[in-house]
C-alpha cells in the first residue's frame, strides 16, 4: 500500500473510533447501554440493521462466490420484502411494546425460565461461533495484501471494535454502523465501477455481459426443483424465508437494533428500509464478482488466488508439479483469451456461424483451464495440514494487484467497516443476552444501575475476547466463509424461530412443550444435516416445522399451569 492508502485507512480507523467514543458519552445506565434509551432515529437504526448483517464476508466471500458460481446466491434474499412485512406486523411491535432487552426475555413471560434460558443459550452458541468467523475474514484480506500475520490482524480488529463497543454499548454501535454502512454503499458501487473500468480496451460493457451469459454467471434465478441443489428459487423462497424470518425476527443482533428506535413506527421504518435496499445491494456485490470473472477472461489470473499457499508449495517437494501445471495453465489461458477476443469480434460482426464455432472452441479451452486450476487446488490441499481454498482471496488480490493511490486504502477501509460493524453488533447482542437472560435473571436480580452497567461492559469484553479465540479456532475451516457462517447458523436458526412461532401464534402452547420441542428440533436439524445431502437452506424450514408440530402435540401432554403473580414479576 502507498502512503495515501495508509492515510485513508488510518483516517477511517481514527474516525470510527472517535465517533464510537463520541456516541458513548451519553447515558450511564443499562437502558442507555443496551437500548440506547430508545431514542435513535429510524434511518440510523435501519443502516445499523443492514451493517450488522453485511459483514466483510459479504464483500470478500460473496464476490469470490459469484466469480466461481455466478449470481445464484441472491435467491436466498428474495423473500426479504415479504419477511419484512411479517416482521412489521408481528415481531417488531411485539418486542417493542413488551419493552424487553432481549428477544428471549419475552419467552419467559410467555412460557417459562427454562425455555428462555435454552433459547438464549442456543443464540449465544450460534452467534459466538459466527462472530469468530466474522472477525477472521478481514484478517484473510490483510494476510494477502500486507503480508501481516493473521493473529496480529485478528487482535487489531478485535481490540479496536471492542474498545468503542465496550464503552458505549448499542448507541456507539448504531452510530458507527451508520458511518460504516454509508462507506459500504460507496464501496459497493466503487468496487463495481473499478472492475468494469479495468476491462481491456476494445471490450465493451455489452461484450462483458455476453461473456458472463455464455459462462452461466448471470444465473440469478434457477427454477430447478432439485432439493440437493444448494441455491434455487425454491430453496431461496422457502429456506430463505425462514432463514430471514429467524435472523431478522429472533436473532438478538437484529432485534436489539430495532428496539432502540424511538417508537414502533420508527422501528418498522428501519426494517422497511432494509426490505427495500438489501436485494439491490446483494445484486451489485454479486455482479462485481461476475465482472471480476469476465475481467479474468482477458487478464491472466493466478492459478490459485491464495498466494501464501502457492508460495508454500513452491518451497515443498511438490514444486516441480506446481510449475508444470502453471505452464499448462498459462498455455490454456492464452488460448482461451485469444478465443474470447475472437468470439467478441465475430459477434460484433454479426457472423453467427463463426461465433458458434469459436464459442464451442472457447468453452473447451475454458474447461481445460478450469480443470488445471481445480487439479492445482487439489495439489495444494494435498500438501497442506489444514483445509484451504481461494474463494475469499479473489477480490482482495484483484484490488491489491491493480489499484493504489488511495483507491486501495478506501476499499480496505470498506472491508474493515463491514467487518467491524458486524463484530460490534454481534458482540453487543451476545453481551445483552448473557447479561440480561443469565446474569441479571439468575445471579443478581436486584442491583444498582451502575452495577449492571459495569457488568454489561465486562460481559461485552468477555464476548470480544471469546470472538478472538473463536476466530483462531474456526478460521482454519476451508470452505467459503459465507457458507460456513450460514451453515453453522442454520443449525440454530430453525429451532429458535419455531419456538417464537409457538409463542406468538399457538395460544395453547406450554412451556414444557416448547422446551422439549426445541431439543427435538435441534436433533432433527442435526440429523438431516449429517445424514442427508439436502441443501442447508432447507434446514431453516425443517427446524420450525418440527418445533411447531412437536410443540403443539407436547403442549397437549404437558399443558400450562397458571402462573403465580410473583413468578411473573421475577421474570422481568
Amino acid at each position: 500500500m502507498h502512503t495515501i492508502d495508509w492515510l485513508i485507512f488510518a483516517l477511517y480507523m481514527g474516525g470510527t473510533m472517535a465517533l464510537g467514543l463520541w456516541a458513548s458519552r451519553r447515558g450511564k445506565d443499562i437502558d442507555a447501554y443496551y437500548l440506547g434509551n430508545r431514542s435513535l432515529p429510524w434511518w440510523a437504526v435501519g443502516l445499523s440493521v443492514m451493517a450488522t448483517q453485511a459483514s466483510a464476508i459479504t464483500f470478500i466471500g460473496t464476490t469470490g462466490q459469484a466469480y466461481n458460481d455466478g449470481m445464484r446466491f441472491i435467491q436466498i434474499y428474495l423473500p426479504l420484502p415479504i419477511v419484512v412485512v411479517v416482521l412489521c406486523l408481528t415481531f417488531a411491535p411485539f418486542f417493542y411494546r413488551a419493552r424487553v432487552y432481549t428477544a428471549y426475555e419475552y419467552l419467559e413471560r410467555r412460557f417459562d425460565t427454562k425455555t428462555r434460558a435454552l433459547t438464549s443459550f442456543l443464540f449465544q452458541c450460534s452467534r459466538g461461533m459466527s462472530v469468530g468467523i466474522v472477525l477472521y475474514a478481514p484478517s484473510v484480506v490483510l494476510s494477502v495484501i500486507l503480508g501481516w500475520d493473521e493473529t496480529l490482524t485478528i487482535l487489531m480488529m478485535g481490540v479496536t471494535t471492542l474498545l468503542y463497543t465496550t464503552k458505549g454499548g448499542v448507541r456507539a454501535v448504531v452510530w458507527t454502523d451508520t458511518l460504516q454502512m454509508i462507506l459500504m454503499f460507496i464501496g459497493v458501487f466503487l468496487g463495481l465501477y473499478l472492475v468494469i473500468a479495468k476491462l481491456p480496451e476494445g471490450i465493451t460493457f455489452s461484450d462483458a455481459i455476453y461473456l458472463g451469459g455464455v459462462a452461466n454467471r448471470w444465473n440469478a434465478v434457477d427454477t430447478s426443483l432439485d432439493l440437493n441443489n444448494r441455491y434455487t428459487l425454491l430453496s431461496g423462497l422457502l429456506g430463505g424465508f425462514f432463514l430471514m424470518l429467524s435472523y431478522f425476527g429472533c436473532d438478538q443482533s437484529q432485534v436489539q437494533r430495532y428496539i432502540t428506535a424511538s417508537s414502533v413506527k420508527e422501528s418498522r421504518m428501519s426494517l422497511i428500509m432494509t426490505g427495500f435496499l438489501k436485494v439491490p445491494m446483494q445484486f451489485f456485490i454479486l455482479a462485481t464478482g461476475v465482472f471480476l470473472f469476465i475481467f479474468y477472461q482477458f487478464e491472466r489470473p493466478p492459478i490459485y488466488f491464495n498466494s501464501a499457499e502457492v508460495a508454500r508449495v513452491e518451497q515443498s517437494p511438490a514444486r516441480d508439479e506446481l510449475l508444470r501445471r502453471q505452464a499448462e495453465f498459462d498455455q490454456a489461458f492464452d488460448r482461451q483469451r485469444e478465443l474470447s477476443f475472437g468470439l467478441v469480434e465475430a459477434r460484433r460482426n454479426g457472423d453467427a456461424a463463426e461465433a458458434d464455432r469459436l464459442l464451442a472452441e472457447r468453452q473447451a479451452a475454458v474447461s481445460r483451464a478450469e480443470q488445471i486450476r481445480k487439479s492445482t487446488a487439489e495439489l495444494i490441499r494435498s500438501t497442506s495440514d489444514t483445509p484451504t481454498n481461494d474463494v475469499n482471496y479473489v477480490y482482495p488480490s484483484f484490488l491489491l494487484k491493480y489499484f493504489s493511490g488511495g483507491i486501495l486504502g478506501m476499499m480496505i477501509s470498506v472491508i474493515f467497516a463491514a467487518a467491524m460493524s458486524s463484530i460490534a453488533g454481534e458482540i453487543a447482542a451476545l453481551s445483552s443476552a448473557s447479561m440480561i437472560d443469565f446474569y441479571k435473571r439468575y445471579f443478581k436480580p436486584e442491583a444498582s444501575d451502575a452495577h449492571y452497567l459495569r457488568a454489561g461492559q465486562i460481559s461485552t469484553l468477555f464476548w470480544g475476547l471469546f470472538a478472538t479465540v473463536a476466530a483462531f479456532l474456526l478460521g482454519s475451516r476451508g470452505t467459503s466463509l459465507v457458507e460456513t457462517v450460514n451453515t453453522v447458523g442454520s443449525h440454530f436458526y430453525g429451532p429458535i424461530l419455531g419456538v417464537f412461532i409457538l409463542a406468538f401464534f399457538v395460544k395453547r402452547a406450554s412451556g414444557t412443550g416448547a422446551f422439549i420441542s426445541i431439543i427435538l428440533g435441534m436433533m432433527a436439524v442435526i440429523s438431516v444435516s449429517w445424514f442427508t445431502k439436502v441443501s442447508w437452506l432447507y434446514l431453516n424450514v425443517i427446524g420450525p416445522l418440527v418445533v411447531v408440530t412437536a410443540g403443539i402435540i407436547l403442549s397437549l401432554i404437558f399443558p400450562n399451569r397458571p402462573k403465580p403473580d410473583a413468578e411473573m414479576k421475577n421474570s422481568q
Binding site: 455466478g70 449470481m71 441472491i74 428474495l78 423473500p79 426479504l80 420484502p81 415479504i82 419484512v84 412485512v85 412489521c88 406486523l89 408481528t90 415481531f91 411491535p93 411485539f94 411494546r97 413488551a98 419493552r99 413471560r109 410467555r110 455481459i209 458472463g212 451469459g213 455464455v214 459462462a215 452461466n216 454467471r217 448471470w218 444465473n219 440469478a220 434465478v221 434457477d222 428459487l233 417508537s263 414502533v264 413506527k265 418498522r268 422497511i272 426490505g275 427495500f276 436485494v279 445484486f283 406468538f504
Partner: protein
C-alpha cells in the same frame, strides 16, 4: 403486558393507504424483484 402484538393502535404514516398501503407496496416490490431477476436470467444467461 399483553401476549398479543396488536393491542395498541398503530401510529399513522404518511404513505398512500397508510401502513396497509406500504405493506402491499413492499410485497409487490418483492415479487417485482423476482420477476426482474427471472427476466434478467432468461435474457442474459445463455450457457
Amino acid at each position: 403486558m399483553s401476549d398479543r402484538p396488536h393491542d395498541e393502535p398503530d401510529e399513522a404514516i404518511s404513505f398512500p393507504g397508510g401502513w396497509k398501503g406500504l405493506y402491499i407496496f413492499l410485497v409487490i416490490y418483492g415479487f417485482l424483484q423476482i420477476a426482474i431477476l427471472y427476466w434478467f436470467t432468461a435474457t442474459l444467461n445463455r450457457p
